[in-house]
Symmetry: C2
Subunit: 256 residues, 2 copies
């Protein structure tokens, strides 16, 4: 029985896509069967695997708007056991009319039912807002993983996010739980990052994952190479961090 | 007659808020009258001026949903000549029901009419998506300033953004023009940043502003101090860069 994890934050640029892509690759490297689902119209997951619009047979758009069985939108990747459902909302008019507003909030949950048992993990990449698509992901998910960039705007965004989770749990998905808050792009030499880290740990206590993702340029090169970092630089700091995160999610605290 | 500039990009975390706040402060320092309008439900502009929900009498929410005259939502800041209309969408349900979907796309343009002549510049901070609020800003604006983080996902996002501008011009706001593409968070020691910069300049040519905004931790401390960087470290690299940007917008190319 696979676990569905929504990777979400309304704050932009905190590492949602980078986490979905590289955590997914790390879990697959540990022998797990993993599906990445991109519900962000930006389509950054496809970009991370070098896919252009011509490589995408069908995607999340048809699943949402034409009831396409999600199995038809699944694409294999270079990594054994790692599949993706790309976001193929290529035009904004479509995004606004069909996706952002119209789909029922439990659309994705229904769509994922037939394939849940075929994967150990399903990771959902969310857009940087708390609109309909993120709601769909939170309603489909068993748990939510929240990347937190160690900066002040991202810190301030947490309060609102926690409120939304509470209301989703109360009104739509009572079994939704936190998988954890993940500190990302951490530069330990920076006082600002340390201050924010301390504050996040003080406020959120055990909900903060042990694993920290350091700022590492190799992670930013994923969309350049069109593949997760483990495929082009296995020795990178960022790759090791996502491998630790995968183990923490599988086996519990790393006790760092 | 004031110029209305939308600061927009659907890519998250590229420096939209940081640009609105610090460019606004720089223009005010040069004696211009400036209004910052935040249409992003995250409310990062208020955070940048240390305002909590208790400091906000009224904001963009009442302007959009209760036809409050925008003058009633204007708040003074510590900087002479710099005013703000904060975003006060505190709850997401409100955001989804009232703001994201319902408001007519020309709502903001109508709302700004009575105050346009009282300011030399009106800068609009947009959310990281191409939904209704960003459309409102693009329809209200004379021009659009596009922060571009020097990384690959942000580069890939440009194509879609340019398409949206083209369609807004064709269908809603024919006089909308580019104020320019602004390279942000630039670390010149990084090959990745140089490669992306070259690509942006090669593709967008004269549309790329001369001024570059370097990565500078003082800019990231704005939400910690609750004021634009010029007020707590006038000597910072980031402050000098936004001062150069202000001059470039006022007087034309800096010829860098
Ligand atoms: N640990 C890291 N070290 C260095 N760069 C990183 C790291 N994590 C992410 N990045 C880079 O930072 C930027 C933001 O990350 P990413 O796009 O994954 O965030 P996001 O939350 O998915 O953004 P959005 O809100 O736009 O969807 C990207 O350019 C990415 O390559
Ligand atoms: N030139 C810079 N140097 C260092 N840090 C910066 C710089 N510009 C922005 N930042 C920091 O990077 C993060 C992203 O910037 P900011 O929040 O302004 O982007 P945004 O595009 O408004 O994000 P969102 O899409 O969430 O609205 C913030 O933590 C900010 O403090
Ligand atoms: Mg993303
Ligand atoms: Mg912002």
């Amino acid at each position: 029985m696979g676990e569905v994890i929504a990777v979400a934050s309304q704050k932009g640029g905190v590492g949602k896509t980078t986490t979905v892509v590289n955590l997914g690759a790390s879990l697959a490297e540990l022998g797990k069967r993993v599906l990445l689902v991109d519900v962000d119209p930006q389509g950054s997951v496809a970009t991370s695997f070098g896919m252009s619009r011509y490589d995408v047979r069908a995607g999340i758009l048809e699943v949402f708007t034409q009831d396409l069985p999600i199995r038809e939108a699944i694409h294999r990747t270079e990594i054994e056991g790692l599949d993706i459902v790309p976001s193929n909302v290529w035009s904004d008019e479509e995004e606004k009319r069909n996706l952002m507003g119209a789909a029922a909030e439990s659309k994705l949950r229904q769509a994922l039912k037939p394939v849940r048992d075929e994967y150990d993990f399903i990771l959902i990449d969310c857009p940087p807002n708390l609109g309909n698509l993120t709601f769909n992901a939170l309603i489909a998910a068993d748990s939510v993983l929240v990347p937190v960039q160690c900066e002040y705007y991202a810190l301030k965004a947490l309060g609102r996010f926690i409120k939304v989770i509470r209301s989703v749990k109360a009104q739509h998905n009572p079994s939704l739980r936190y998988r954890g808050f993940l500190l990302t792009m951490v530069d330990l030499r920076s006082n600002l990052a340390r201050r924010v880290m301390e504050k996040v740990r003080y406020t959120l206590q055990d909900l903060v994952l042990d694993t920290i993702i350091p700022r590492n340029v190799r992670l930013a090169e994923v969309p350049y190479y069109g593949k997760p970092a483990v495929l082009f630089d296995r020795s990178a700091k960022g790759v090791a961090a996502y491998a630790r995160l995968a183990k923490e999610l599988l086996y519990g605290s790393t006790g760092q």
